[in-house]
Subunit: 215 residues, 2 copies
DNA sequence: TCAATAGTGTCTGTTAGACATTATGGA
DNA sequence: TCCATAATGTCTAACAGACACTATTGA
């Protein structure tokens, strides 16, 4: 008799699609949809297992993979295991097309197994919280991108509108991107220059404290 | 024969002591010191188990307990289990005295089991990262505190000096604290008014984007 | 009295956001 | 040509940090 799995590895794959963050869902048992998940293999390491599950679901390695945490607390999971370790996988819109399953906007999620609902919420929250301190936005974009696309990605992650001139000023000051000698025309209007992610100097001197405590 | 533990619950208890963040270490096997940890009980939930381990180590419930993540990846752990779920427990200096074990400054940690070293670093990092978006500082302080003590706590968490007048201005604007009708004299100098944590209105209108990406 | 800490008012340089303007392509 | 988008300069209000000053206690 095979040993029951100790825990599962659950992957919340996120991609910027249609101006929203979308999650990859697969068909689970019955008609119900579920996050991609799998059991760790014997002696397989945590991160390695998560990469494997993500790669299988996406058809290619994600641009980034970060652990969200362990989930259990009695919430139901399709596996029956009482522990799941959740990972957020970041995927570009281009890569998203290659995945098997449906990309569903985070704002319009269908019914999921209890634990996976909690996992999804936590993953989205974790990614959003890291947006301003890790290059999350760049991992949701192809190597070459316009500044408008970058700003839209930040707006999607931070869930608020940003001011164009201010955004570019701050971006310039942070020395995060470099222009490449290429332009892209999207329908009408002046073509936009393409940029690539190329962080240069550590930005010292964070000014002030921002108390941002939920009441 | 007892079933081997699936995973362990490891607790990184943090307290502000001597102007530094200190971690609670206990005597492990041999002379080696280790984080408090335990195995989950049968059918015990994740958070409940972590609370139990923390309470046992501290002699009282911590002011806050948050999950840091799951750790494994082949790093050694005293239990032999290949997975540990880590929690950060926040404790006031007063509560810290009641704990069994040594409080060691995070800057001067002794040799720990590999996995626990990774867990400790991640827990400290997680708590620091949340300092400006969750009331972490208040959970390291007693219910009534001086603004100087609050500022010192923030400085300890953010690991940088803050400007007194600016700190108080921002604190006032955030409406996080309320003065109570009590003063405390610490040695010489004018006695400081005591305050309590009493967040009132959601602080809307986060200005700007702060790109803070490690190069 | 001096020393030490609390608490606050004012000034100044920096920066975010508003607004306007130019640039450059497609329809 | 008109319209849409890119990109940037200028102005202003908000804010962080410096500094100075008063307040209030213990030594």
């Amino acid at each position: 008799m095979p040993k029951a799995a100790l825990y599962t590895l659950d992957v919340v794959a996120l991609a910027p699609l249609g101006g929203e963050l979308a999650v990859l869902l697969q068909r689970g048992a019955g008609a119900r949809r579920a996050l991609p998940w799998g059991a760790p293999r014997d002696r397989e390491r945590l991160t390695a297992g998560a990469h494997r599950v993500a790669r299988t679901a996406l058809g290619a390695p994600p641009a980034a993979l970060e652990q969200v945490g362990a989930f259990g607390d009695g919430l139901r999971h399709p596996s029956g295991a009482d522990l799941s370790v959740a990972f957020a996988a970041l995927v570009t819109a281009e890569q998203a097309a290659a995945a098997e399953g449906d990309w569903v906007p985070t704002g319009a999620l269908p019914a999921l197994p209890e634990r996976q609902r909690a996992i999804t919420a936590a993953a989205v929250e974790a990614v959003r919280a890291r947006a301003d301190r890790a290059p999350v936005a760049f991992q949701l974009l192809p190597a070459a991108f316009t500044l408008s696309a970058l700003q839209e990605t930040y707006e999607l992650l931070l869930d608020r509108r940003l001011h164009k001139a201010s955004f570019r000023r701050a971006l310039h000051a942070a020395r995060l991107v470099q222009p490449i000698d290429e332009w892209r025309s999207e329908g009408r209007g002046r073509p936009a220059q393409l940029f690539r992610y190329a962080p240069r100097k550590r930005r010292r001197g964070q000014r002030g404290v921002r108390f941002d405590v939920p009441t």
